[in-house]
Structures are given as structure tokens and as C-alpha cells.
């Protein structure tokens, strides 16, 4: 059979594709709203937006099953929405309210959901990598076939504990997928200025951990890679590395003017590679959806996000007694 020129022929159903569109749009609109609430002073401290990287978590989650675990860094809002956590609870945590996932005591960078197997939300760069391997250890110990997605950035990839973890994950065959979300900038430092290796996933090779590069702006490519990695881990073959090339449109945090890159670079990415626009085009050109269908999704998402903002504004601040709870179990 002759090779097709287009790799964009998706082997997915219209409903599935619409689902990815919806999930990515939810993250985008949620993050825009979070940025707006930050600007109004309703969200304090550090707030790291996920805009531009939506296809990564949505694609990865497409291969997850019940009981699989996930853990990430402080840029965590997208991961929480993608694994099904309630936007109201996430937004109310951002505003530091009682209705937040951590009762307002964690904030943007420290949120968790036992129910959805989301283990944070960690503010120390790289610390989530051994923690994620430990979650995988607990599944292997129990003898089930669940896997853990341990997300970290290109910046965290220079932390020593990542390689301590690669070593132990390899010798103990832990069912962990190391997802390197390579958005090309560790805060303000471009990868080439900080990282000796062009392709970070190759750092798994000396440990015997297989890996590959994935186009993180293409949700279907991410999904396909995730299925492969998950199958590898579920079968008891040990860890797997996915280096997902992505791009964040916004600054590192809300207070980052992003002077380390040009406006043109960001605009080019938005115009040519936007993950949501790509799926939108696929849906429309493939006649899987009409403009009206997509408008209906847009409207639904807008309502969810507005409701979450309303909830996050009206949920009361935590009772002062909460200062002294949850220190010890």
C-alpha cells in the first residue's frame, strides 16, 4: 500500500475528536479566566498558565484507565481538568476558598484529588518525579496493572533526582511513564542554554529506558504515543519516556514579561501550530462537525468556566479554624 502523504488522517471517531476539542478548549478557556481573575486580584501568589500545552494532557489521558495515577509540577491546572476534576473546585482553590480542592490551603501549585488519583501539584521543580515513581511502586507492590504518569518540564530534566529516579525505575521495572513536557523554556532559559542534550528523552538510554519524541501540538500524535507507552508499562516492561514538544503561549507565571523570546515566535506558534485550531480544522474539513456544532461546544465550555469563576468568587474563605487542621492525620 502506498504511503499516504497526509499523516493527519485520524483513526478516531468524530465523537472522540469532538471530545478532545472540548477537553482542550475547557483548559484554554479556564486558564484565560484564571488569568483574568489574577488580574483582578482574586487569585494571588504564583499562577502558571497551561495555555498552548493543552494537547499534552488531553492526549496522554486518552490512554488512561481507572486507577491510573498522575502527578505533575506547579503548572497543574490542565492536568486536573484533563483527569476529570471539577472546574469549580480547581478555580476555588485558585482563589483560596473553602470550596477549593484543598480547602484553600494549597493554592495554584498544590492541589490534589484522591478520588481522581491526582497526586499534585508540586512546587519544588523535579520533586514530583521520584514521587511519581513511588506511586508506580505502590501499584507494582500490589500487583495490579495500573500505571503512573509523572509529568515534568525541560527545566526539571536537569535536576539530579530525575536521574536517581530513572535508575531505580529501571532496576525495579516500575510502571511509570515519564512525560517530559518540553515547552522549550525553563522559566526564562532556553533549552539550548541550559541542557547539554538536544533530545532530552535520550537521557533515558543509559538507564535502558525506551523513549521517543512526540509532537505535543497534535493531540492525536500524543494519544498514539500515550497508548504505546501505557501498553509497555501495563505489560510489566518497566518505565517509558515521552518527550512531548510543546509551547506555552503565556509567560512562565503571571508576572513574567517573557522578554527572552520574541512576540513573533509566540505568534507563529499560535498561528501555525495551535493544538485546538488543528482539531477544529480536522473536524470541519473532515465534515465531522459543523460550525454550529462547535459553537455549541464553545457555549457549553464558556458556561462551565463562567460558573467556576462565579463559584470561586462566592465560595467563602476558609474558616479560621482551618489554620490548625490537616497538620496530622
Amino acid at each position: 500500500m502506498a504511503a499516504r502523504k497526509s499523516t493527519k488522517k485520524p483513526n478516531v471517531s468524530a465523537d472522540e475528536l469532538k471530545g478532545y476539542y472540548r477537553d482542550m478548549l475547557l483548559i484554554r478557556r479556564f486558564e484565560e479566566k484564571a488569568g483574568q481573575l489574577y488580574g483582578m486580584g482574586l487569585i494571588g501568589g504564583f499562577c502558571h498558565l497551561y495555555i498552548g500545552q493543552e494537547a499534552v494532557v488531553v492526549g496522554l489521558e486518552a490512554a488512561a484507565k481507572e486507577g491510573d495515577k498522575r502527578i505533575t509540577s506547579y503548572r497543574d491546572h490542565g492536568h486536573m481538568l484533563a483527569c476529570g476534576m471539577d472546574p469549580n473546585g480547581v478555580m476555588a482553590e485558585l482563589t483560596g476558598r473553602e470550596g477549593g480542592y484543598s480547602k484553600g490551603k494549597g493554592g495554584s501549585m498544590h492541589m490534589f484529588s484522591k478520588e481522581k488519583h491526582f497526586y499534585g501539584g508540586h512546587g519544588i521543580v523535579g520533586a514530583q518525579v521520584p514521587l511519581g515513581a513511588g506511586l508506580a511502586f505502590s501499584d507494582k507492590y500490589r500487583g495490579n496493572d495500573n500505571v503512573t504518569f509523572a509529568y515534568f518540564g525541560d527545566g526539571a530534566a536537569n535536576q539530579g533526582q530525575v536521574y536517581e529516579t530513572f535508575n531505580m525505575a529501571a532496576i525495579w521495572d516500575l510502571p511509570v511513564i515519564f512525560v517530559i513536557e518540553n515547552n522549550q523554556y525553563a522559566m526564562g532559559t532556553a533549552q539550548a542554554r541550559s541542557t547539554s542534550t538536544a533530545d532530552i528523552y535520550t537521557r533515558g538510554e543509559p538507564f535502558g529506558i525506551p523513549g521517543e519524541i512526540v509532537d505535543g501540538m497534535d493531540v492525536l500524535a500524543v494519544k498514539a504515543a500515550s497508548e504505546k507507552a501505557v501498553a509497555h508499562c501495563r505489560a510489566g516492561n518497566g518505565p517509558y519516556i515521552l518527550e512531548v514538544k510543546t509551547y506555552r503561549y503565556r509567560g512562565h507565571s503571571m508576572s513574567d514579561p517573557a522578554k527572552y523570546r520574541t512576540r513573533e515566535e509566540v505568534q507563529k506558534m499560535r498561528d501555525e501550530r495551535d493544538p485546538i485550531e488543528q482539531v477544529r480544522d480536522m473536524l470541519l474539513t473532515g465534515k465531522h462537525a459543523t460550525e454550529d456544532d462547535l459553537k455549541a461546544i464553545d457555549k457549553e465550555i464558556k458556561a462551565i468556566v463562567n460558573a467556576s469563576a462565579e463559584f470561586a468568587k462566592t465560595s467563602p474563605e476558609p474558616a479560621l479554624e482551618e489554620l490548625w487542621t490537616d497538620i496530622y492525620a
Binding site: L131, F137, S138, E164
Partner: protein, 456 residues
């Protein structure tokens, strides 16, 4: 419907800024993500993006304006087809949605008793319980083995804990009984395996992490404090780390500065951790069993010199010692000596010698440093009116300092002399035998301190 665009806060501390430049003009159509303006904060010039789509109906604040307060309306966005003339006079005050003012009520104080309560003086085991002589090393091993037999989720990991049988032979025999699934040799990689164990605890297991010594736990202290100790609080109580970090702590003998440090005061400072530091074999066993069952991360500070010491240990099916309950080793009336861990050796020796001179010392072993049994200490000080604390750690911000402050706050009127803290010297541990002897706390120093507070 027209919506106001508000001056945004663009950093955690921004209250006002300069509207440096408008990048749109009235009548322009904007989409979500388009850059509207450049705004100067105290740190940087930031681009301000549109969230909603629409048409710029009116610009309310001219570019170049300085000191524009956050949440001041700076422009009005209208929908396609609307006219700028339709816009009502803009409100000048920040909108009502601004962040609520900080609550005026003061934070409730930490729950703490203002004066000493009756201390728990119940014996650790029933009278008549048969006893056996056992070393601290054997007691800790037996405690781990008993708990591993009782709970499948308990496992031990660390350097040389399995095939080598423990660098200090504390885990002797455990591999044979429990197998390599539950007694796990790690590579030399403290930061990494402390993190993996903490993750396993998040996942519902109950790890025991052995550090070959607590000096090496310095490599792992971020995971211990930032991950294990704080997650329960940060998750609003959803998940924590039920686990034990254990190993020898403090000076051994002639191993120099990097292998000879007492971390009791370091870990005792951290909310979310519990800290145990036993002296006797019975306490080592009973506290270890309690530590493994505890649903919080426990720092269990052992001591290489004490490992080989033998003590009476009760022969009971399930002997545990609760946290937060000090043990009074000997009663006395002239002075209270408070110590823990190997410091107890000096306290007890000093009490023996002082008795020969007619000075009656009450000796208290704190056993756990978080929680700490203040009441037993305060009740004793209220009786003796004098106190000396003894520990091996550095003098600055020591456990003794903390006890002194507590006694001053809660039993000031009972004191007949200032509390003296006997500690290790304020120097890195030297190697030379004579210097090392002087760097450590000595029995003679404890006796001298007692004579000072009793004015003898």
C-alpha cells in the same frame, strides 16, 4: 453588552502601575489573546491580553498614565453592532468583584494549655510483666518484624538493608523472613529513594526508610519536609505520608564532622512531622511500633553507640509506647534534668554522682520531640524549681532553648535559677580524640550546670 476592561494585577505584589502604551485604538476588533496594552509594573513591562472578544468602544485611561490602581476600568469593550455612544458613564471606583478585604478577626491561637496539666504517669507496662535483656539494635529489628507480620503494606527500603543485613545490622534476618519484595536494597541515592518511598506512601503503602545515617538524609531533606511533611495540609487532608524515616543520628566515634551531627532540633521544628529519639531498648521497640502504625511521617532518630547497649524489654505480645509521653527515669527534688536519646546517658550518670553529694535530681527522658510532653517537664520544674537540659546537638536553636522558653512562659514564677542548656559545642565535630571529647557533652558539664542552678 459593554464590559469594562480593568487595570490588571500582573505580579503577586502589584497594587498600581503605569499604562505605558495602548496597542489597540477605539473601534478595533479584538480577539481573545490579542495584546491590548503594555503595562509597567515595579519589576517589568508586561503585555496585557484580551480575554473576551469584541470591539474597543472607549479608552478610559490614556497611555502614559502613571499610578493607575489595579481594577480601575481602563477601557470599555462592546459587542459588534453596539455603538460607543451607548456606553453609560463608566464607574470610576474599582468594581465590587475585587478581592475581599482580609478578615478582621485575629487567627485563633495554637491550641496550648497555659499552665501544666496533670502529666500521664501511667507505667509503660503492667506490673509483673516478665522482662528480657535486649540490645537497642535487636529491639528495633523486632519492632519492625512484628509490624511487618501484622501489615502487608509495611516494607523496609534503604542502602544495605537486605542482603548485607544492614550497615549496622539493625535489619538482620528481615530479608530471610520477608523476602526481597518487602526488604529492598536501594542504590546510594538518598534524595531519590526518599522521594520514591514518599510517593509509595501517597499511594497507600507504609514504608520504613532506613538512612545509613541521618547525615545522609541531608540529601533527601527536601522530600522529607516539602513532600512528606506538608502534603496532608496542602491537600486539605486528602492524602498524607504514613511512613518512618529511621537511622542512626548524632556522633558515633571519631568519624569527623560530616558523620557526626544531631538533627533532633532540625526535624522537631517541622509541623507535619513527628520525631522520636529513644534512649532505652524498651522505648526503641515501643516507639518504633507506634511510629510504623502512625498515619504521619515519623523521623526516628537512633544512635550508633546505643545500638549495642542492653536494657530490660517487656515480654508482651504487643508492646507499644505512645508519642508525647515522657518517662521519668528517677524522681528527685532538687533539680530537673531533661534529656533524650544518648543525652540520657550523661543525665543519668550525673544524677548518680550528684546523689552521692546529696543533690537529688529528677531525670526526664522526653522520648519524642514532636509531640513533646511539656506537662511532665513543667510539673517537675514546679516541684524542683530548677532545670538543666542535656542534648548532643548544637547550642543555637536547640531543643533545650525551646524548653527554656516554654518554662519561662509557663512556669516563670516557679524558677529559682535560670535554666541551663548543656549541648554539644558550637563547632563542627573534630576528628582528634581529645578534641572530640571536648566537643561532645560530658557528665562533668552536667554536674557543673546542676551546681550552678542549685547554687552549690
Amino acid at each position: 453588552m459593554a464590559t469594562e476592561i480593568l487595570m490588571p494585577a500582573l505580579s503577586p505584589t502589584m497594587e498600581e502601575g503605569t499604562l505605558a502604551k495602548w496597542l489597540v485604538k477605539e473601534g478595533d476588533t479584538v480577539n481573545s489573546g490579542d495584546i491590548l496594552a503594555e503595562i509597567e509594573t515595579d519589576k517589568a513591562t508586561m503585555e496585557f491580553e484580551a480575554v473576551d472578544e469584541g470591539v474597543i468602544g472607549k479608552i478610559l485611561i490614556a497611555e502614559g498614565s502613571e499610578g493607575v490602581k489595579v481594577n480601575t476600568p481602563i477601557a470599555v469593550l462592546i459587542e459588534e453592532g453596539e455603538s460607543a455612544d451607548d456606553i453609560a458613564a463608566p464607574a470610576t471606583a474599582p468594581v465590587a468583584e475585587a478581592a475581599p478585604a482580609p478578615a478582621a478577626a485575629p487567627a485563633p491561637a495554637a491550641p496550648a494549655a497555659p499552665i501544666a496539666q496533670p502529666a500521664d504517669l501511667t507505667p509503660d507496662w503492667p506490673a509483673g510483666t516478665p522482662m528480657k535483656q535486649q540490645t537497642v539494635r535487636e529491639a528495633i529489628r523486632d519492632a519492625m518484624a512484628e509490624e511487618m507480620r501484622g501489615d502487608e503494606n509495611v516494607f523496609l527500603m534503604g542502602e544495605e538493608v537486605a542482603e548485607y543485613q544492614g550497615a549496622y545490622k539493625v535489619s538482620q534476618g528481615l530479608l530471610d523472613e520477608f523476602g526481597s519484595k518487602r526488604v529492598i536494597d536501594t542504590p546510594i541515592t538518598e534524595h531519590g529513594f526518599a522521594g520514591i518511598a514518599t510517593g509509595a506512601a501517597f499511594g497507600g503503602l507504609r514504608p520504613i526508610v532506613e538512612f545509613m545515617t541521618f547525615n545522609f538524609a541531608m540529601q533527601a531533606i527536601d522530600q522529607i519536609i516539602n513532600s512528606a511533611a506538608k502534603t496532608l495540609y496542602m491537600s486539605g487532608g486528602q492524602m498524607g505520608a504514613p511512613m518512618v524515616f529511621r537511622g542512626p543520628n548524632g556522633a558515633a566515634a571519631r568519624v569527623g564532622a560530616q558523620h557526626s551531627q544531631d538533627y533532633a532540633a532540625w526535624y522537631a521544628q517541622i509541623p507535619g512531622l513527628k520525631v522520636a529519639m529513644p534512649y532505652s531498648a524498651a522505648d526503641a521497640k515501643g516507639l518504633m511500633k507506634t511510629a510504623i502504625r502512625d498515619n504521619n511521617p515519623v523521623i526516628f532518630l537512633e544512635n550508633e553507640i546505643l545500638y549495642g547497649r542492653s536494657f530490660d524489654v517487656p515480654e508482651m505480645d504487643d508492646f507499644t509506647v505512645p508519642f508525647g509521653k515522657a518517662r521519668i527515669w528517677r524522681e528527685g527534688s532538687d533539680v530537673t534534668l531533661v534529656s533524650f536519646g544518648i543525652g540520657m546517658q550523661y543525665a543519668l550518670e550525673a544524677a548518680d554522682k550528684l546523689a552521692e553529694e546529696g543533690i537529688s535530681a529528677e531525670v526526664i527522658d522526653l522520648r519524642t520531640l514532636r509531640p513533646i510532653d511539656y506537662d511532665t517537664v513543667l510539673n517537675s520544674v514546679m516541684k524542683t524549681n530548677r532545670c538543666v537540659t542535656i542534648e548532643e546537638g548544637f547550642p543555637v536553636a536547640s531543643i533545650g532553648n525551646h524548653l527554656s522558653a516554654t518554662i519561662m512562659e509557663r512556669a516563670f514564677d516557679y524558677l529559682d535559677a535560670p535554666v541551663i542548656n548543656c549541648t554539644g559545642k558550637d563547632v563542627p565535630m573534630p576528628y582528634a580524640a581529645n578534641l572530640e571529647r571536648h566537643a561532645l557533652i560530658t557528665t562533668d558539664e552536667v554536674i557543673a550546670a546542676v551546681k550552678q542552678v542549685t547554687y552549690r
